[in-house]
């Protein structure tokens, strides 16, 4: 029988099923990454935090009494780790830890687009960045976003609308700036 619910997968992991572990990692990798990216604003660091959070949470899954609370529990762990990472990075003045080459992004073609998006994300408020990443990157529903960020669903919709408007304007202005630079050369 195919295991689909998080509760079933957690029970399977507790019984030592590595396939169930892979399914759960696949399911929650992107949400963890989005939570970390919203705080750290650096994709590679966000991936590091997502991985360490999944490792930490799933290694001590037995501590979680109610498996229905897995998602908020994992998101909380990720958020705390990202905040710790951010404060330690501030202390070491932006010096990044050495990273596993396997986790480096392979597609260099999209790096310009990526940088453009990251620059635009910098100009959003924390809340706008959270909502935009959860909705447009992770496909979270407004109800889920509202529950996680402790806001109303209407508020989540409004923030998303504003964030998208800002992002589009910022990306367009970056593109215009790029074109002007090329023409001047």
């Amino acid at each position: 029988m195919m295991k689909t619910s998080t509760q079933e997968l957690v029970a399977a992991i507790q019984a030592g099923d590595q396939d169930a572990c892979e399914i759960l990692v696949r399911r929650y990798y992107r949400p963890c990454y989005a939570v970390a990216l919203a705080i750290l604003r650096h994709p590679e660091d966000a991936e590091d935090v997502a991985q360490s959070s999944l490792l930490s949470a799933l290694s001590r899954i037995d501590d979680l009494r109610d498996h229905r609370q897995f998602k908020p529990w994992l998101m909380k762990i990720t958020r705390n780790r990202a905040l710790t990472d951010l404060s330690s990075r501030k202390k070491t003045q932006g010096k990044r830890s050495s990273r596993d080459i396997e986790t480096m992004p392979a597609d260099h073609i999209s790096s310009t687009l990526k940088n453009s998006l990251l620059k635009a994300l910098e100009h959003l408020s924390d809340r706008e960045r959270d909502v935009l990443l959860f909705h447009d990157l992770c496909n979270f529903k407004h109800a889920e976003i509202a529950e996680f960020l402790l806001i109303s669903e209407t508020n989540s919709r409004q923030i998303l609308f504003t964030a998208r408007g800002k992002m589009r304007a910022l990306i367009e202005s970056q593109e215009r700036g790029g074109k002007n630079e090329q023409e001047s050369h």
Binding site: I13, Q14, G16, Q18, C21, E22, V25, R26, Y29, R30, Y33, L37, P43, E47, A50, Q51, L54, L55, L58, S59, R60, I61, D62, D63, E102, T103, P105, A106, D107, S110, S111, L113, K114, L117, L118, L132, L133, H135, D136, L137, F161, T162, R164, G165, M167, R168
Partner: protein
């Protein structure tokens, strides 16, 4: 216009499927290895043998207590019979029995 999602796919870590598959597989292996070493997992594995051992100790202790009590009762009955026969003049007491008789019941 703002109802359409922003294309954030360049930031998506799952975009490169092969790389993502390798990351997931390596991470799952690390998680399972860490779980094997965690104190709760060790305790979970030891739970059944520990419970069996505890049960055996309990059964042994209960059986020992029961046998001791049975031995005490039988011993007391034997002593009472011996003293009763001595009182009726039907038998004599040895030194230890005399000492016990003088000392009285505990």
């Amino acid at each position: 216009m703002n109802k359409n999602p922003i294309d954030l796919s360049p930031l998506d870590p799952t975009r490169d499927k092969n790389r993502f598959d390798r990351t997931v597989s390596a991470l799952a292996q690390r998680i399972m290895a860490a779980r094997e070493r965690s104190p709760s997992a060790v305790l979970a594995r030891a739970f059944v043998p520990l419970m069996v051992a505890a049960l055996l100790i309990l059964v042994t202790a209960a059986a020992g207590t029961w046998m001791l009590e049975k031995g005490h009762t039988q011993g007391a009955q034997k002593k009472t019979t011996t003293f009763a026969q001595w009182a009726r003049g039907k038998s004599t007491l040895n030194t230890w029995q005399e000492v016990e008789l003088i000392r009285g019941p505990k």
